[in-house]
């Protein structure tokens, strides 16, 4: 197996809460790998720590109130990002690892032209002249499929639609040909048709530029179409990780199971016309607990249909649930050791 591009080990990012009511353990011991050229999907509900994880990788967590705990380890191409000097860190940001965000409306600076914003990283990292950087910006706009790039390069963000702005964000992120692109909910704020276009664009660019993509989303549908492997997060932890096909076919963790059952499907019997549309969409009961007070034992047990005594008392580690190669499929659930307890479908 190839050496991973990015190795995250036992990442803990905590926040001191405003009222001093305690520490929010937003990310609490997360580990995963991203291999060169692959697409890793990170899935979970709002508040599960997906975004904090992605921001931690580039050390973009505002400090205070946030801080990455000692003992955490984020290795990119053999170097621990958490111990880099500011100058070395800047050389990684936007150059080796780039990031696009959820809100293309607010993630672009309103007072600079999109051309200037795209060109900036090329000037800083590749020391291009202004003219060369401008030409590069036009090329990038062309690459991400914006019509009339020569004209658009001088436009301001407010003159563009949401989908176009996200294309600009992508152009900006990819201008230095990074090895890893972190895409944090890149399609959430967009219309469904535009979502599909942006995902296609990301896939095409990934194939062309050969970069790895870390795709963060709450939408399993997005992951199904694009990711090679999936990491499912819940309550600041990784609860399951597996190759995409495997995860969809054989989900082990009850939370993953619940997420999959909650995806609306036109062919699902519960919603089909044959049953008169009386079926209801499945939802996971309860809600994500507060990050200041994760439940004892397994963090999912208050919402789990199978939970028994052990789940309430003892926190499960990531257990190997692989059917093929060992370690390809892991789940943080005692069901791995006692599969007979899975008595009914939720």
């Amino acid at each position: 197996m190839t050496e991973p591009l990015l190795r995250v080990r036992d990442l803990k990012t905590y926040f001191v809460t405003e009222q001093g009511s305690g520490t929010a353990r937003a990310v609490d011991g997360v580990s995963f790998d991203v291999r060169p050229g692959e697409t890793l999907g990170i899935v979970g509900e709002s508040g599960c720590g997906k975004t904090v994880t992605s921001l931690s990788i580039l050390r973009l967590i505002p400090e205070p109130p946030g801080h990455i705990r000692p003992g955490s380890f984020i290795e990119f191409e053999g170097r621990n990002i958490l111990t880099l000097e500011p100058k070395e860190l800047r050389a990684v940001r936007g150059n080796q690892i780039a990031m696009i965000f959820q809100e293309p409306m607010t993630s672009l600076n309103p007072v600079f032209t999109v051309g200037d914003q795209i060109a900036e990283a090329a000037i800083v990292h590749q020391h291009l002249s202004r003219a060369a950087a401008r030409r590069r910006a036009i090329e990038m706009l062309q690459l991400v499929g914006i019509p009339d790039p020569e004209e658009r390069v001088d436009h301001y963000p407010h003159q563009m639609s949401g989908g176009m702005r996200q294309r600009v964000m992508i152009a900006m992120a990819l201008v230095c040909h990074p090895k890893l692109l972190i895409a944090d909910e890149p399609t959430t704020a967009l219309d469904v048709t535009i979502q599909a276009q942006i995902l296609e664009l990301l896939e095409r660019l990934q194939a062309e530029l050969g970069m790895a993509v870390m795709l963060i989303t709450h939408d399993l549908g997005v992951v199904a179409g694009t990711a090679d492997r999936v990491v499912v997060m819940y309550a600041g932890q990784v609860v399951e990780q597996a190759p995409t096909v495997e995860l969809f076919a054989h989900p082990v963790h009850p939370y993953t199971e619940g997420l999959l059952a909650a995806v609306p499907r036109l062919d699902a019997p519960s919603l089909s016309l044959r049953t008169g549309g009386r079926g209801r969409l499945h939802s996971i009961p309860g809600q994500v607990p507060a990050a200041t007070a994760w439940p004892d034992g397994c963090r999912f047990h208050p919402r789990c249909p199978y939970a028994w005594d052990r789940c309430r008392a003892e926190e499960p580690p990531l257990l190997d649930a692989s059917q093929g190669d060992a370690g390809t499929h892991t789940a943080r659930c005692w069901l791995v050791t006692e599969p007979q307890r899975r008595t009914r479908r939720p």
């Binding site: 800047r90 936007g94 007072v111 600079f112 800083v124 407010h158």
Partner: protein, 324 residues
């Protein structure tokens, strides 16, 4: 765009006219006259009558007003009773003094205010932020004339670091025509400019801190960091450019503040600018100097706000597009 400019200019003229009219009637309504009998007991009633006739004060007030406007339209501001010279000349002598005072104060106000505000926002809730915030609040709460008197007492009276007043040394430098005299002018300018500038800077800092705090939490600032830019560039280019938009409003508002402040500061420091001229003219009922000063002052304020609007259009592309 052209329609907008025409509208703005028309409004500006209307405002200036309103100010002049108001000042004209208010100063005439004030008790007393330029030639008070009790002030000039030695002057015979015949002489007084002659003087009144000479300056047109024997006519009815509406008549005088129409006459004044007619002269104004021809570019004549009238004659000062007290100074015995054209009002325009007196104003022309005073204006550069106020201009340099306001300019120096503005420089102190904006550089110190911006720098402090940015520093405080970046170091939010640190000891430095809290201490500076309280000092700024204290200075901002001080009346200009009082701060002027305190500085005058401390730095001029006790420490002798700066002169107590006036624009230049009356013996060595009656005119600013050589380098030593220019330095002498700046030396004289320091305390009045500091007085006016510090009070402004304290307000500007509070304002700029808030604006900057608002902006550094924006997502595009995070985007800028994610690009691998230096923190200085993130803050001073990506954040500050946005945080300066509300500041421009302050630039427009600074003009009236500086000009009213100048009246007090010029009086404290005997600085022969528009403010001192206007105060003396008011006390002596020197009607045309008062209205002339009001005219020039209101024109400057109107110009200031016009400038702020244009600056907005330059700084914020979103406004530019809507206005075009």
């Amino acid at each position: 765009m052209i329609a907008w400019v025409v509208r703005r200019v028309a409004a500006s003229v209307a405002i200036i006219w309103a100010v002049v009219t108001l000042t004209f009637f208010v100063i005439h309504a004030a008790r007393g006259s330029p030639f008070l009998p009790e002030q000039s007991q030695s002057v015979s009633p015949e002489t007084l009558d002659r003087l009144r006739r000479q300056f047109g004060l024997d006519r009815s007030l509406p008549e005088q007003y129409v006459l004044y406007l007619r002269n104004l339209a021809r570019g004549e501001l009238g004659e000062s009773f007290v100074l015995r010279r054209p009002v325009a000349d007196a104003l022309a002598d005073a204006m550069p003094h106020t201009f340099f005072l306001a300019l120096a104060a503005l420089l102190i106000d904006f550089t110190a205010g911006l720098a402090l505000g940015i520093y405080q926002a970046v170091r939010e809730r640190s000891v430095g932020d809290v201490v500076l915030g309280n000092v700024a609040l204290f200075v901002n709460s001080m009346p200009t004339f009082w701060l002027g008197l305190v500085l005058l007492l401390g730095f001029a009276q006790w420490l002798h670091w700066f002169p107590t007043g006036g624009p230049s040394d009356p013996v060595l430098c009656p005119r600013v025509d050589s380098l030593p005299c220019l330095l002498d002018f700046f030396w004289h300018l320091t305390l009045p400019a500091l007085t006016l500038g510090l009070v402004g800077a304290a307000g500007t800092a509070r304002f700029q801190r808030a604006a900057m705090l608002e902006v550094i939490r924006q997502e595009y600032v995070r985007t800028a960091r994610a690009k691998g830019l230096r923190e200085g560039r993130v803050l001073l280019v990506h954040a500050l450019r946005n945080a300066l938009l509300p500041f421009i409003t302050l630039v427009g508002l600074a003009f009236p503040f500086l000009l009213t402040g100048a009246v007090l500061v010029e009086t404290v420091y005997s600085w022969p600018g528009m403010g001192l001229l206007a105060v003396r003219a008011i006390l002596q009922r020197d009607y045309y100097v008062v209205t002339g000063a009001a005219l020039v002052t209101s024109a400057m304020v109107v110009l200031g706000s016009l400038m702020a609007d244009l600056l907005y259009a330059v700084a914020d592309p979103r406004i530019r597009v809507r206005g075009a």
